[in-house]
Symmetry: C2
Subunit: 190 residues, 2 copies
């Protein structure tokens, strides 16, 4: 390794995020907005009763198909016996909490890195209230999903809590869940 | 096993769902709405960069703490290299798709069972569009999360597609995502 090469090409890493690549990405998107268009996908097969299995493989982004190496992530949904299942896996509303808390955490780490804010640790709790009368169709006044979700994040950093909170607002899952997204469901029977 | 016992206590199973217990649950909730109040939870720890890990353990429901046997589900979030990660796990917006498609599937199986509709198979695809300019803060007009999510469900059943579609509308994650939920984020630094 020559000194000249290592000095000039050393990427800036903060919070485990390659900030050099992050700013390169931002510059690329500024030059061509199409780079920013992503399409994420999953397939799911019902196994029976409370159990089904999702497979997550390719997605589209940065103008091409990604994860085309045959790699796949396979995860199941389940339900606890109190919800008539066998508790072989988290249930879908628990998975939603995993997605949301994970997105808030990743977003905090990335956006702090982009602003030069060092983060040493993030530990969070998330909880959601759900009244099963909605799902069971027992009351028109009770919604079927969560009525409220609360997150508490404990962040080791020199930045102010309000600064960190402002970063979390950039989270895509937070935006999706707290602002709603149109979901179209098309059903084919055979 | 005596004939008398097996005849009288045999539960009715449809789509792998214990319909006898399902109707018992509905009756119990009708008698005491507090039984229907659930609180689901997760904890999350940032590992660094794109990686964080959620632990899903106890939840509250049916008037008591559930899954108190020490069992825990542990899953990670990651990001693909095109999003500056190492692709060790799905990313949060992919996990959201897993939660949503799983909930639509479980909801279909359960509600079909409650109506006496036999389901032999469910295979689904889900996709979501996301413009990274929102996350990157490059445009106020572009939202940070999904702009649209589309689901295609292929269901082996004698019921009509419209009937099955009406069942999917009972899904708690579908309701949460398509109608929004208030999410409060509290940040503590140290």
């Amino acid at each position: 390794m020559s000194n000249a090469t290592s000095t000039e090409s050393e990427p800036k890493i903060m919070n485990g995020v390659n900030v050099t690549t992050l700013f390169d990405t931002i510059d690329a998107v500024k030059g061509n907005a199409a780079i920013a268009k992503f399409n994420f996908r999953a397939a799911n097969t019902w196994i029976g009763g409370d159990k089904n299995r999702s497979t997550i493989k390719e997605f589209t982004g940065a103008l091409q198909e990604q994860r085309t190496n045959g790699k796949s992530f396979v995860f199941e949904n389940g339900e606890h016996p109190v919800l008539l299942g066998e508790d072989k896996a988290p249930n879908p509303v628990e998975w939603l909490l995993h997605a949301l808390i994970g997105c808030l955490t990743t977003t905090t780490a990335y956006h702090a890195a982009s602003r030069g804010i060092a983060i040493d640790a993030i530990d969070s709790q998330i909880e959601g209230d759900l009244d099963l009368r909605g799902f069971l169709g027992l009351s028109e006044d009770v919604r079927k999903g969560y009525s409220a979700i609360r997150v508490h994040m404990r962040v080791k950093t020199k930045a102010e809590p309000a600064t960190i909170k402002s970063l979390t607002a950039m989270s895509p899952v937070f935006d999706t869940v707290s602002r709603s997204v149109p979901v179209t469901v098309d059903v084919e029977t055979y």
